[in-house]
Amino acid sequence: DQQVKQNSPSLSVQEGRISILNCDYTNSMFDYFLWYKKYPAEGPTFLISISSIKDKNEDGRFTVFLNKSAKHLSLHIVPSQPGDSAVYFCAATTSMDSSYKLIFGSGTRLLVRP
């Protein structure tokens, strides 16, 4: 039972263009969502988050959009840079869970071509 799904295992974009990574979830109790970036042989690093009371959060080149009715969120990277090439994980949690454990998707591998 996958509560967080990233249906695109990979994405390739040209440098300077927009990268859009998508994520769907099934658990309506999720109220906080995060994106992590992972380089090979390293642990995931936090990128950006959004609370369910918002529909957009922006941090520099990174913007996360949340559509609660569709149980869908997306990460936009503009402009994309070769250094953005990594695996991106979507994660979700609920403040009802006292451990705040994150439920992760399976990841999308982004390749930004120079």
Partner: protein, 114 residues
């Protein structure tokens, strides 16, 4: 300051042997999590520690897996009688235990069971 430290970075063991994986969380972080990532999969929650509270063990896949956290700091994940399906990258993370406190991950221990 230093990030989350995990050791060993790589471990190869024979099927049926026991292994111990170690995690040193970020100083001051009260919450500690273990996750694992199998090949081509997302991050799977294993166990959560918070202060002196009983750990959340809901993600442990079998009774061969156990973990402890001594003195509210260092944690050890033990896998007894390892099986080939235990092969994965085991990731430790720590945080301030708030829904809005991102998890900080170590670089993981790559476990290979032959």
């Amino acid at each position: 300051g230093a990030g989350v430290s995990q050791s060993p970075s790589n471990k190869v063991t024979e099927k049926g042997k026991d292994v111990e994986l170690r995690c040193d969380p970020i100083s001051g972080h009260t919450a500690l999590y273990w996750y694992r990532q199998s090949l081509g999969q997302g991050l799977e929650f294993l166990i959560y520690f918070q202060g002196n509270s009983a750990p959340d063990k809901s993600g442990l896949p079998s009774d061969r897996f156990s973990a402890e956290r001594t003195g509210g700091s260092v944690s050890t994940l033990t896998i007894q009688r390892t099986q080939q399906e235990d092969s994965a990258v085991y990731l430790c993370a720590s945080s301030f235990s708030s829904v809005r406190s991102p998890l900080h991950f170590g670089n993981g221990t790559r476990l290979t069971v032959t």
